[in-house]
Symmetry: C2
Subunit: 498 residues, 2 copies
């Protein structure tokens, strides 16, 4: 493809993306293809001769788009949102147009310098303390692919620091602490590193938040047995229910256990701290006072296209001590002099994409004000949903709404005091049926979860095009499906038939 | 930004990318900015009010482009090339336009299905055996970010398998084998995982290729001491000199050490196997016969925009056994039934970008024929360079050219038999001066390396716009700079002045 053919194909791609967004809300949210659909349409080997690009571009529309789940659809309430803004798209377009893997300063100075700068913008937007800024020269921030990578890097840095200060500690004795509500990234870090993971219990009555006392007891138990807990992955906004671990209590415990690294995973909820009114409930003060590392994903609720996981550390030396490898072919004058950041020593790989461009475009185009307005709007939309649940006689919230996430289930209100409540097991069975009905539809997407044995359904707001009308439509749909589920449900136990 | 504003900004971005490529060869290759340049131009915090997108787009041209090193410049001969094709750019544009993190089949079926399919296309293009194809149902391929990630995942899978079969093995005793010429990814995997790395010696007379005997002796030594070597990262095409480890000899050794996992890192050279004439020297047969995992980066020399590291494993179960985490909120009907690939269990993170789209666009637009033609053209350009060095009276190749890479240095030919050769130390000092001169220029980019104590310079061909005329210009420039370096050089030892 030559330059003029690219111009033509590029304009067409832009036009088709416009068409996509004009038509998006009329499409099904969920792809209804069956496993193996694509190989019915495409050959099993690459073509020998090059094909006309128009055919390829048309095949994208014909075969790929119908197989996409539309995460940007206004009725997408599943998982957590994954951001996609026009500013982000254009930034990615510019970034890939020069395709340079800015692994160190010399390999492309702008990549490093923009990342260092906009990570400071982002830190200040969220209210992080100056200690985390790149301009501090001690702490600093970098863009990772996902929160899993950010957590893994933090665990590696923590392990490396722990081994430095405890040279006799055996890998077999090291323990990563999470809670039973921590994202699978905790367990995965353990699998990748071959280290034990202990998931601390959290309780429904504490809204699934880790209590300081639980941590203290676990530390004492493990230390007595010669185990070496060296990091706690605490969460601000868990995936299942948006729970926020009790950082003030954890802080008090850590005073007596100073070698426990605290990584705060706020993958989803962290961007909410851009609004001052959310900072206290997200424990910003405590994060600033004692977290060793902090992660939030701007690519979830933060308007920056996937991937854009922001990771800050209080001491960059803990990263570079753990990850620095400098072979001769990567040495450079400025790197040797230590006057520049070489981001390759702040992440797992060597090369990295120019991700900071999209963060820069988004923060400038929206401004801090526009960013906060977006966060507030989605929280208000979730409140609209939670208000509907509160007035429903068949649906109940399982926990209070957390920012832009509600967790609910069918739980018919008792009409009279002598009506017997359904057992957990029966309610679970009813709610599985309910979820089965919802997930069979293609005009809405929600995901399910289990909270300490309770089967429930998540409603996560955040797709940029979701309006109040989509929330209302979702409420109506869920009410109808819940009624139908109750009607269709066949109680199987004696108790159920009461 | 609304849809029509996006159309306008998108067209402009496409136009500006066209302008960039029209002007590219007249730009300096290397950015001449000084550390800290960007913060002179940009504020230290995000703007409070949103800015007009035209201002932002203009600032990209004004402040970012001058700080880029132009990896696509026809006179870029540093590191290894990083691919950037128009097909790849458009694929990335489509991929980011829906921003869906296809972590499992259900989350966006097309992402998984296209990846499974085009990884089979790519495997067949390179001549990999059917055992590595996704269609085999046993082996399989996936797209990772970089060769570092691919190697790390392979080490994790190998460690997990080794621990399953050797339940008493302590992490402290496990050893990762590399050679002294293995990319830093080997050492980094060791750092990340907290495992020992032993770099086996390779010799100049073996062209820096690992011999079977070296491996056999190391295995015997380590096993005698209770160490547990569990993986060898062998290289086909090392970074420093394009060396290819002796896989036939390694295969013979591994027969007696069946629990040693062989990961073949062909990050740069692997795509050359698309041409049948390169397969024997890259030991394709041996890779097919006994490698447990194989990686090449299509984003280097393979026309697919960064990032696109392709990783194949002989047994996908070794990946999923090591990496599978399935919390309730990620369970799905098809996933539970095992009828689909859930790629989240094939890599480190959870979410992943839709990378297969660019591999698909590139392979279709070029066709296998066009892909091979590109590989052959770059090898021929490197041969042109190597031929020039062969006729030079002051420059010499340090090793025979390897595919599209030449490694050379100043080494004046002796005019008479009684003229004394310069010592290694003197030649190193002269070549450092020479490289200093080259790297001070902004119209060419080469990188340096050290091969068993010998300071030398790499010339890696592969930028898509490099023509014979650019090679000729590079030859002329290097000849001139070498002469000037020799003139400017002040021998400091008695021997040097002979």
């Amino acid at each position: 493809m030559d330059i003029e053919q690219f111009r033509k194909a590029g304009y067409q791609a832009i036009d088709r993306i416009c068409d996509y967004y004009y038509s998006l809300q009329n499409r099904p949210v969920i792809s209804k293809v069956e496993p193996g659909y694509l190989k019915q349409h495409l050959p099993l080997t690459a073509p020998e001769k090059g094909e006309d690009f128009q055919v390829i571009a048309d095949d994208y529309q014909k075969f790929i788009v119908p197989g996409l789940t539309h995460w940007q659809h206004p009725s997408f309430f599943g998982y957590f949102p994954t951001a996609c803004t026009f500013e982000g798209i254009i930034a990615e377009l510019y970034a890939t147009s020069t395709s340079n893997p800015g692994f160190n300063w010399t390999s492309s100075p702008a990549c490093t310098e923009l990342e260092a700068l906009v990570m400071d913008w982002a830190a200040q937007l969220l209210g992080l303390s100056a200690a985390f800024l790149n301009s501090s020269g001690i702490g600093g921030g970098s863009l990772q692919t996902t929160a899993s990578d950010s957590a893994l890097i933090s665990v590696v840095a923590a392990r490396s620091l722990y081994q430095q200060t405890h040279p006799d500690a055996k890998l077999e004795d090291l323990v990563i602490y999470t809670t039973t509500q921590t994202h699978s990234l905790g367990l995965k870090a353990g699998l990748v590193l071959g280290l034990s993971v202990r998931a601390l219990e959290v309780k429904s009555e504490d809204r699934f938040s880790l209590k300081g006392e639980t941590l203290r007891i676990a530390l004492e138990e493990d230390e007595k047995q010669g185990k070496k807990p060296f990091i706690l992955i605490a969460t601000v906004g868990t995936t299942s229910s948006g729970a926020i671990d009790n950082l003030p209590e954890i802080k008090a415990v850590v005073k007596d256990h100073p070698s426990l690294w605290i990584h705060v995973d706020a993958a989803w909820a962290g961007v909410a701290m851009s609004c001052p009114e959310n900072r206290e409930k997200c424990f910003l003060n405590e994060i600033n006072e004692f977290a060793n590392s902090f992660c939030t994903n701007f690519h979830k609720w933060g308007l920056v296209n996937f991937d854009a996981s922001t990771l800050w550390v209080r001491n960059r030396k803990h990263l570079t001590d753990a990850l620095d490898v400098t072979p001769p072919f990567l040495r450079s004058t400025h790197g040797d002099a230590g006057t520049v950041i070489d981001y390759r020593n702040w992440h797992l790989a060597l090369g990295r994409r120019f991700r900071s461009l999209k963060l820069w475009f988004v923060l400038r185009s929206f401004g801090a004000e526009g960013f906060r307005a977006y966060i507030r709007r989605t929280i208000a939309l979730n409140q609209q949903f939670a208000d509907f649940i509160a007035t429903s006689d068949i649906l109940s919230l399982v926990t209070p709404p957390s920012l832009a996430l509600s967790v609910f289930r069918i739980e018919p209100k008792r009409n009279s005091p002598d009506q017997v409540a359904l057992s957990t097991e029966s309610l679970n069975s009813l709610n599985r049926l309910f979820y089965g009905r919802i997930s069979a539809r293609d005009d809405i997407l929600l995901t399910q979860t289990v909270l300490n044995g309770v089967h429930c359904i998540r409603f996560a707001v955040g797709a940029a095009r979701t309006e109040s009308s989509h929330i209302q439509a979702a409420c109506d749909l869920l009410h109808t499906e819940a009624k139908l589920a109750i009607e269709a449900w066949e109680p199987t136990t004696t108790e159920d038939s009461k």
